[in-house]
Amino acid sequence: MALNSNTPSGPLSEKWDNHKFNLKLVNPANKRKYDVIIVGTGLAGASAAASLAELGYNVKTFCFQDSPRRAHSIAAQGGVNAAKNYRNDGDSVHRLFYDTIKGGDYRAREANVYRLAQVSVNIIDQCVAQGVPFAREYGGLLDNRSFGGAQVSRTFYAKGQTGQQLLLGAYSAMNRQIGAGKIQSYTRHEMLDLVVVDGKARGIIARDMVTGKIERHAAHAVVLCTGGYGNVFYLTTYARGSNATAIWRAHKKGAYFGNPCFTQIHPTCIPVSGDHQSKLTLMSESLRNDGRIWVPMKKGDNRRPEDIPENERDYYLERIYPSFGNLVPRDIASRKAKEMCDEGRGVGASGLAVYLDFSEAINRLGQKAVEARYGNLFDMYKQITGEDPYKTPMRIYPAVHYTMGGLWVDYNLMTTVPGLYACGEANFSDHGANRLGASALMQGLADGYFVLPYTIGDYLAGEERKPITTDHPEFEAAEKNVKGMIEKLLSVKGTKTSHDFQRELGLIMWNHCGMARNEKGLIEGIEKIKALRQDFWSNIMVPGSGEELNQNLEKASRVADLIELGELMMHDALHRRESCGGHFREEYQTPEGEALRDDDNFAYVAAWEFMGVDSPAKLHKEELNYETVKRSQRSYK
């Protein structure tokens, strides 16, 4: 199938308006004749569900937590970007667009990113009207901060809990529609397959996680808002439940997977402390505004940080990037930390950490001011590590945090399966090869509030208005498939738990497809993953039965998918013989060790088609044509 991005023609700034005018409309009285399934109730899913229900569609939502409010979006800390230019500091839609394209290392679709920047301003208006308590100034107007190295202040925030407040806003809009009977919310339900009838997405198979019952749900369209797949690396900043099952099973039913290897590794996380650890905690990027990052000059210097004199410290980011210093983009900050540790200059018991030091800021501003800015983060650090960052520098290390890859979607957010849409982190998104801070919340809400409600109408307008039923043989087959997999998982009765397998997978991914990748490592990694998959299906041990609340069964079925996805990520990373954004191939770097893009050969989105578990996926290319921005080597020096 040829990949058509359906990007409208015309000047960049007019594309979205023209496109909206050209989209087909569903007459208000007919909207209630269409059913839409939305899987996921994070920012993307909750905003989409509320907006579609307000328009009059019948919506069913699904989430695996016990309430829509607990989706992983709740954990986002720093803020949400919008080109409001309330600060009069030179921000504009064009600047946000340009920064996002450049930050993504020229691997995103121009038209999508421009639209994202355009609707960013509406997001803030919407959230304020819902009663989201953003931070304000004394005059009563909204406060902003600069974030992730942006040179303008365009980030709106609610203390260190922006994701929570935005999600509770979207959840409240959803609740209003649940109360009005327009949304049916299914909680503790997990989607386990997509149902495709006559080439169109027509429903899902879900498991009631309390009773174990396998259910069929039909609709005219299905929207996946199921978040990112970073847990393929095991130790990450994701919630424990975050997984790839929904998008992976949709991929197996025909949805192409876009740029799977594009992973974001966040530079400021609390380092690993031992084998028992179950997750890594992010320390907001805002800390880099005042904290200085350093390692000892000497290898293996194990003096306490206070005992290392100033002239024996290497503030390496300030040294290498004098103009951006500690504020370089995430991919660069992460990679440099790894290089320092690889040189043997890492700190802490494991040698896998660098210092983030606030002593200069405390001297300059006073402890009170530092406390006012970062108090909650310092407390969190102390709670986890038992160390006091006011007295001794924090130790930080990069951790997996976000996946830019995801299901390939066209300009209308439709996947390659007609009637199947993907929004939020689940799609391959607008962030190219690297996402800027505070842009994921923006994208999730843009997709759900302001893009999908228009574009889905264009598809539904062409669909018959009679209800879709679950008696098609395709539902039967999908249900059988799901039941078969559950039985298989329960019947192996091996010796290793899903937890054992996820840890092994995570280690393989981190070592072979992590912050720096190379051909030899990837080829080895692929072999290791294949072996792991074999081992999984002969040695997995799942206690209990399928007809009850069984958390280990849930986990095993997710890990099985993550293993398959991991293999695809390695293939994608192997085929992309260039470095760009978060994808760093050691063979392709500038003499100074920066990512070396190859625009002649790789200025495309890699969209992979599933050909069977044991067959290599098939590559389709969407060429990225830059009409407005001129591509250049990113420089933050």
Partner: protein
């Protein structure tokens, strides 16, 4: 490793909602003080699975104190002994080698046990569906800065909105009252200009739904505030009572 602890756990086990439950005793050995409470539970569960036994079901997700999913009643206290901390943020350095730790689910007839330590908190969602929102449709709004909000009000609204919906307040209350949870939402909107239009209707609808769900009355013992991991203040309850009386008087 030195400094590791051996603990005895007494854990509530219950197969499903209709089954009757009992306490079972387990040994947790070699527990590092750096582990979180849930990581300690992971270790115990991995052991149980490898012995061919049914692991302990418990709710959790973010493991950083914000999703509100984790919910354990530890040694007679919701989320354990520390103030302002959820179960997932509680670290084992809080306990001593040789300790016996009792772990139960939230206990409230409005939160039926689904299995072991997992309870059904959907009553909270239904209360929010009854009125925990501002009725605005997507797209039909004005510029975000067109209504200034005094910083003090915005900050106070934020503090109320910081509730994570965990249910510890209900678990800690001898009457199983949900007043702290409900009043936090009512307060957030009462403090903001956007919440004014539906102010009276909202409080009445939410309180009615709360009563229907079978939560108990508030007798001002303030156990909820003491155990709330987000330190939501009982002043929210006083505000909700005023809002409710006003709404009833003028309706």
């Amino acid at each position: 490793m030195s400094g590791n602890m051996n603990l005895t756990l007494k854990v509530w086990r219950q197969k499903n909602t209709s089954a009757s439950g009992t306490f079972e005793t387990y040994q947790a050995s070699g527990i590092s003080p750096d582990m979180s409470f849930l990581e300690m539970m992971d270790v115990v569960n991995e052991d149980l699975i490898k012995q061919g036994k049914d692991p302990i079901a418990f709710d959790h997700d973010c493991r950083e104190g914000i999703c509100g999913m984790c919910s354990m009643y530890i040694n007679g206290r919701a989320h354990g002994p520390l103030k302002g901390v959820t179960t997932c943020q509680l670290h084992m350095r809080t306990f001593k080698d040789g300790d016996t730790i009792t772990i139960e689910p939230w206990r409230s007839s409005a939160f039926p046990v689904l299995k072991d330590l997992v309870v059904d908190r959907s009553a909270f969602d239904r209360i929010q569906q009854a009125g925990g929102f501002v009725s605005v449709n997507t797209g039909s709004v004005q510029d975000a800065n067109s209504i200034p909000v005094p910083k003090e009000n915005a900050d106070e609204a934020f503090l109320s909105a910081a509730c994570i919906g965990c249910g510890a307040c209900v678990a800690a209350c001898k009457n199983s009252s949900a007043m702290l949870f409900v009043s936090a939402k009512v307060s957030q909107y009462a403090l903001l200009p956007q919440g004014q239009v539906e102010r009276a209707k909202r409080v009445v609808n939410m309180v009615e739904q709360m009563d229907q769900e079978g939560f108990g009355n508030c007798t001002n013992t303030e156990a909820c505030e003491a155990e709330c991991p987000k330190q939501i203040s009982v002043s929210n309850i006083a505000r909700m009572n005023r809002e409710y009386i006003k709404a009833k008087l003028f309706s």
